[in-house]
Amino acid sequence: MRLSDIMGAANLSVYAEIAMILFIVAFIAIVILIFSPGRQRTYDAASRMPLDDEHPQTPR
């Protein structure tokens, strides 16, 4: 019996759908995170980073 026979019998194709759901959940979490209030200050500082070559915008 070859590996492909064993794997073929294991019905793995359902995993693709599980992975997709996992991805969607993770993605929604990220969206909520990005648009949650209270992060604006960090983002404002971060967005200025390219404009100053010498001074860290988000030190510590």
């Binding site: 590996l3 492909s4 026979d5 794997m7 073929g8 793995l12 194709s13 995993y15 693709a16 599980i18 992975a19 997709m20 996992l22 991805f23 993770a26 993605f27 990220i30 969206v31 909520i32 995170l33 990005i34 648009f35 949650s36 209030p37 209270g38 992060r39 200050r41 960090t42 983002y43 404002d44 500082a45 971060a46 967005s47 200025r48 980073m49 390219p50 404009l51 070559d53 010498e54 001074h55 860290p56 915008q57 988000t58 030190p59 510590r60």
Partner: protein, 741 residues
């Protein structure tokens, strides 16, 4: 706060090196592009063996992707990363190793591809020793980059760096898995995957090479250099983060849209289509974000050629990322696949997005790196307008060429027969548009030359010694204090949205990188594993047998000459395809194809059922000079194939490598050269008897003919019990309906 301040300076020397490499290799890559564009209009400008379309086309694609765009990314990455992380690159030695290693690889590619050393997988043509060198150089780059990140003096990692990280990691994964081969000589190898699986792997790679070599790195550059040039922060930082995560999540799934209506399983191609359409949203989010960064600064665009380059680049990004999802919709793809439409799509992206973003970046960098004024603003303007008109001429002509050919292939007349049964008719119709392409490409190249001249003159005005500013900044403290002004988080939900944990990730570059890698790998595995391990996805066909040793040698020649650049071997299940070429291709037919040679573009007819359509002598004469058979053919002539002697000694090595991959070769494992000689004698005798040239029994043309006559025969043999056995198929002397192609 930490009272101690570090003093350091940025390494701009490495940026200057990469900048010159970008422009010089860019010019080389563009020139090769012009040469192959001319070859398509004038077949006489092909000179076998080295100077043919089939060998130069991979050189063009590799040069513009890996030499031009690659060096452009490195230029911008070395400049921006040091400044965004407020630290010098960790190791100047590794930076230099990366630079010289990468240039050496480019030189190796420029030599080996025209010499015919190729793995025959698009954008992964380079043979295995060069692939190993690429991996080594890439690891050096990655190590240098990640240690630099760990030593940064800025807490937050700017979004441009996220794009670089994702690119570095994903390119490494793609490169390694698509290039797994069994060597069969110093510069020869066979892919460990076969047929459908190889095709799946290749387009998982091919699509993501576009995503993670031409898109995400350049988005990183956009998010750094566009704010710089406009002198204002990006329109929405939130949107840029969303852009990043969506691309990382979606792109990796989209590869199968390159294989619609092929022998790929239906579910995989539908999955690829869905994810491709979903990609439209974040891509346009990114485009809008780029354009809106210029809000309140549009008056500058009329004055500043750099911003002009950027605006056109971002617009081209929007156009090609709109078109990509559209092309991935199956019904649109049915028309566009195998035609010039794809070539036009790619050039909107490559010339508009990658090219113009690079030029804008180079012009922004030049006065800063060479510490002098730009030599001529007027030349920059000229470069911009020549480039813009070059792009327009190119894409308008080639879009119409694609649509024209696609429509001609599927046209039936009122009696229900193909309206254009002669393939060459559908090629001839494209010639005016091909000349317009030559004109467009020429404008583009003139613009590039002006750019190089301008850069050279700027460089000539540089100071005797470059000034190296010393920067002072505090190192990051080990104890992290989150924003003291932030409201205290209460409850699970608040803690989640407060996201201190995410900021903690951001402070841990290696952890963050690992998470990105996990996202990419998980998506890849879940997409790929089913095709590889579920047998029912690739039904076997009992009558399909391995190639005979001589046919394998012929296949090697087919690969060497790059025939797959113009001839597909994959008939789609449409009536207009089966009428023209024969029964549609089945997944089980290519189980011994290491690598698969399905092709992606038809400048000549499909060859999947070529075997037996024409007599052997037809192939001999056709290869000697295609225009003796089909007056208007644009195929290069290969007269040398009648003189070159088959490398019988190496056949055994090649058969052994295939046997190692599990191809059931039986007797041939011991006496491949002998079997090859016997079959060659037989075919040569037949050619001679038919009135063809004498003494071909050990010449390459016989091996190639044997291979071509084998294509698609196994299935015919299965349906016709009277057909001869598969071991040494003899061609039936039957001309295809429609006759002269």
């Amino acid at each position: 706060m930490n009272a101690r301040l570090d003093s350091f300076s940025y390494d701009d020397d490495i940026v200057r090196k990469f900048l010159w490499a970008t422009m010089i290799w860019g010019l080389v890559g563009f020139l090769v592009g012009l040469i192959i564009a001319i070859q398509l209009t004038m077949p006489e400008s092909n000179f076998a063996p080295i100077w043919t379309f089939g060998r130069l086309r991979p050189l063009h694609t590799n040069a513009v992707i890996f030499a031009f765009a690659g060096n452009a990314w490195f230029t911008g990455a070395y400049y921006s990363s040091q400044r965004l992380l407020k630290t010098r690159m960790w190791s100047d030695g590794l930076s230099k190793f990366h630079f010289w290693g990468w240039q050496a690889i480019i030189v190796a590619a420029a030599l080996s591809l025209p010499l015919g050393y190729t793995q025959s997988k698009e954008y992964a043509e380079l043979e295995w020793p060069i692939d190993i060198a690429i991996a080594v150089v890439w690891v050096a780059f990655a190590v240098n980059f990640f240690v630099t990140m760990a030593r940064r003096r800025e807490r937050h990692i700017y979004v441009a760096i996220w794009f670089y990280i994702a690119s570095i990691i994903t390119v490494a994964i793609l490169h390694i898995f698509n290039n797994l081969v069994v060597p069969a000589g110093a510069m020869k190898s066979y892919s460990i995957y076969a047929g459908v699986q190889d095709a799946f792997m290749q387009w998982w790679y091919g699509h993501n090479a576009v995503a993670f070599f031409l898109t995400t790195p350049f988005l990183g550059l956009m998010y750094y250099f566009l704010p710089k040039a406009a002198d204002r922060p990006v329109f929405s930082y939130k949107l840029s983060i969303l852009h990043f995560w969506t691309l990382v999540f979606l792109y990796i799934w989209a590869g199968p849209h390159h294989l619609h209506y092929t022998a790929l399983p239906e579910w995989a191609s539908t999955l690829g289509m869905l994810f491709s359409v979903m990609l439209w949203m974040p891509s346009w989010g990114g485009m809008v974000n780029g354009l809106l960064t210029l809000r309140g600064a549009w008056h500058k665009v009329t004055e500043d050629p750099i911003l002009k380059f950027f605006v056109v680049a971002v617009t081209a990004y929007g156009m090609s990322t709109f078109e990509g999802p559209m092309l991935s919709v199956k019904s649109v793809n049915a028309l566009a696949h195998y035609t010039d439409w794809i070539i036009a799509h790619v050039h909107t992206g490559a010339l508009g997005w990658n090219g113009f973003l690079t030029f804008g970046m180079v012009y922004w960098l030049a006065p800063r790196l060479f510490q002098t004024e730009m030599y001529s603003r007027k030349l920059m303007e000229w470069h911009f307008w020549l480039g813009t008109f070059g792009i327009l001429l190119y894409v308008v002509a080639i879009y119409s060429a694609g649509a024209t050919q696609g429509l001609m292939w599927r046209a039936f007349d009122e009696t229900g027969r193909l309206q254009y049964p002669d393939f060459v008719e559908t090629v001839m119709r494209l010639m005016p548009m091909y000349w317009v392409r030559v004109a467009g490409g020429t404008l583009w190249i003139v613009g590039t030359c002006l750019g190089l001249y301008n850069l050279f003159k700027t460089w000539a005005n540089r100071p005797a010694a470059y000034e190296v500013p010393v920067i002072q900044a505090a190192p990051l403290s080990r104890e992290f204090f989150d924003d003291p002004h932030a409201p205290a988080a209460a409850g699970v939900w608040a803690r989640f949205t407060n996201a201190s944990w995410h900021r903690k990730w951001e402070r841990m570059p290696l952890f963050f990188s690992v998470m990105t890698a996990v996202a990419v790998i998980v998506a890849s595995l879940f997409e790929i594993i089913p095709t590889f391990l579920i047998k029912s996805n690739v039904p076997t066909i009992a009558s399909v047998k391995p190639y005979s040793p001589l046919e394998l040698a012929g296949r090697d020649i087919y690969q060497r000459e790059g025939c797959f650049n113009c001839h597909s071997q994959m008939i789609r299940p449409f009536r207009y395809e089966t009428e023209r070429y024969g029964d549609y291709s089945k997944p089980g037919e290519s189980v011994y194809d290491h690598p698969f040679l399905w092709g992606s573009r038809r400048l000549g007819p499909d060859l999947a059922r070529e075997g037996g359509k024409f007599p052997d002598l037809w192939h001999v004469r056709h290869m000697y000079n295609p225009r003796e058979i089909t007056q208007q053919s644009i195929m290069p002539a290969y007269p040398k194939l009648q003189e070159n002697v088959i490398d019988f000694d190496n056949i055994q090595k090649h058969v052994d490598a295939m046997a190692m991959l599990g191809v059931p070769y039986g007797d041939a494992v011991n006496k491949a050269p002998q079997m090859a000689r016997e079959q060659a004698q037989q075919i040569a005798a037949g050619i001679e008897a038919a009135g063809g040239p004498k003494g071909l029994h050990d010449k390459e043309i016989v091996a190639l003919t044997a291979y071509l006559q084998r294509l698609g025969r196994d299935l015919k043999n299965a349906s016709a019990a009277t057909a001869p056995p598969t071991a040494a198929p003899r061609p039936a002397v039957v001309a295809a309906p429609g006759g002269n192609r």
